[in-house]
């Protein structure tokens, strides 16, 4: 048996999104079962099935070091605070 990851794409400009997974013996069985299990209520107009064996998976910790880099984060708050300060200063002049 193989495990397939199921992706559905709604109509229009929406992107493919992960919908779940399905276990099946062949590609055709996976397709017909995924159709009824994931798309029977018009959840999408396109469907991708990806055999899980064909997914490249990064090893444990591969991206952990990116979790602690606050200097890369910009939520715009500091810039907004600075601009507000400038605005107030100008108004008070």
């Amino acid at each position: 048996m193989r495990v397939y990851e199921v992706f559905l794409k709604p109509d229009g400009k929406e992107e493919f999104r992960h919908a779940g997974s399905i276990e099946a013996a062949t590609d055709e069985l996976a397709l017909v079962l995924a159709r009824e299990n994931y798309a029977r209520r018009a959840e999408g107009t396109h469907m991708w099935l990806v055999n899980r064996e064909n997914i490249c998976v990064s090893e444990e910790g591969f991206i952990d070091s990116n979790l602690d880099k606050p200097h890369r984060h910009n939520d715009g708050e500091r810039v907004a605070r600075w601009r507000k300060l400038q605005r107030n200063k100008k108004n008070n002049e």
């Binding site: 099946a24 079962l33 299990n37 029977r40």
Partner: protein, 249 residues
């Protein structure tokens, strides 16, 4: 609505199809939660719901009163049904349920195609819609059967199931009350029983040549007598309805 075409015999003829679809749908949905694996019980029940949808479209056409369908369907006497015994019988073995699904759906597209040029425009559009879904029903049945036939134990079960189910399929193709009237006024293009050889070819191309004894038509199948399992099935169908028959759903 073309009232001159929808005469009582034509309605009875269409009722046979509606009842077959209704009961086949009911039988498939009975497998929710108990089919051999999770994905399949969802898929099988979903396909059953498609068949219920086809039945609803046909009942709506026949009754011309959508609000009265529940009352009509749930309160009918057993002798007023026109279903065939194939869809009335209970098959508790999964392999028999699967073979029935394969056999029924390999016969269903042939039946819908008889309406592709109907004198009733509503039937043409119902037929087109149903045929779109049937493509996937057949692919589902085929994919399962094809894989199971590769495993000796599974193959044996399927072949044994054919011996039970194939004789019942002949009843599906038996003459349908009102059929001659439906043909003469152009509602349907021909007799369903004429298509039995096409179905048999499909069957034997998939499973190999079968014992010819399986294809001997029973005399007593005329859609007016119910299978002994019908009462059980009808009880299941009415189980919730009877809790409060006057409820508006």
């Amino acid at each position: 609505m073309n009232d001159s075409v929808l005469t009582p015999p034509v309605k009875e003829y269409l009722l046979a199809f509606a009842d077959d679809e209704h009961l086949m749908g009911q039988q498939h949905t009975e497998w929710i939660g108990v089919a051999p694996f999770l994905e399949e019980d969802m898929a099988f029940a979903s396909i059953g719901q498609d068949e219920l949808g086809h039945a609803l479209m046909l009942y709506t056409l026949i009754l011309e009163c959508p609000s009265g369908i529940d009352i009509y369907v749930f309160n009918r006497k057993s002798e007023e049904w026109r279903s065939c015994q194939l869809v009335e019988s209970t098959h508790r073995r999964w392999e028999e349920a699967l073979i029935r699904h394969w056999c029924y759906d390999m016969a269903e597209d042939l039946r819908w195609e008889l309406f592709s040029d109907s004198s009733l425009p509503e039937l043409i559009s119902i037929s087109e819609r149903a045929l779109k879904e049937e493509t996937y029903h057949r692919r589902h049945a085929e994919a399962l059967v094809e894989n199971l036939l590769m495993v000796p134990d599974s193959k044996l079960r399927l072949m044994n199931a054919l011996e039970v189910v194939v004789p019942q399929v002949l009843g599906l193709f038996s003459p349908i009350p009102g059929e001659e009237e439906a043909i003469s006024c152009g509602v349907v293009s021909g007799k369903y029983s004429d298509l039995l050889p096409i179905w048999r070819t499909r069957l034997e191309e998939r499973f190999g040549v079968l014992d010819s004894g399986l294809f001997i038509q029973a005399d007593n199948e005329n859609r007016t007598q119910r299978h002994s399992d019908f009462d059980y099935l009808f009880g299941r169908i009415r189980e919730v309805f009877l809790l409060d028959p006057k409820a508006v759903w």
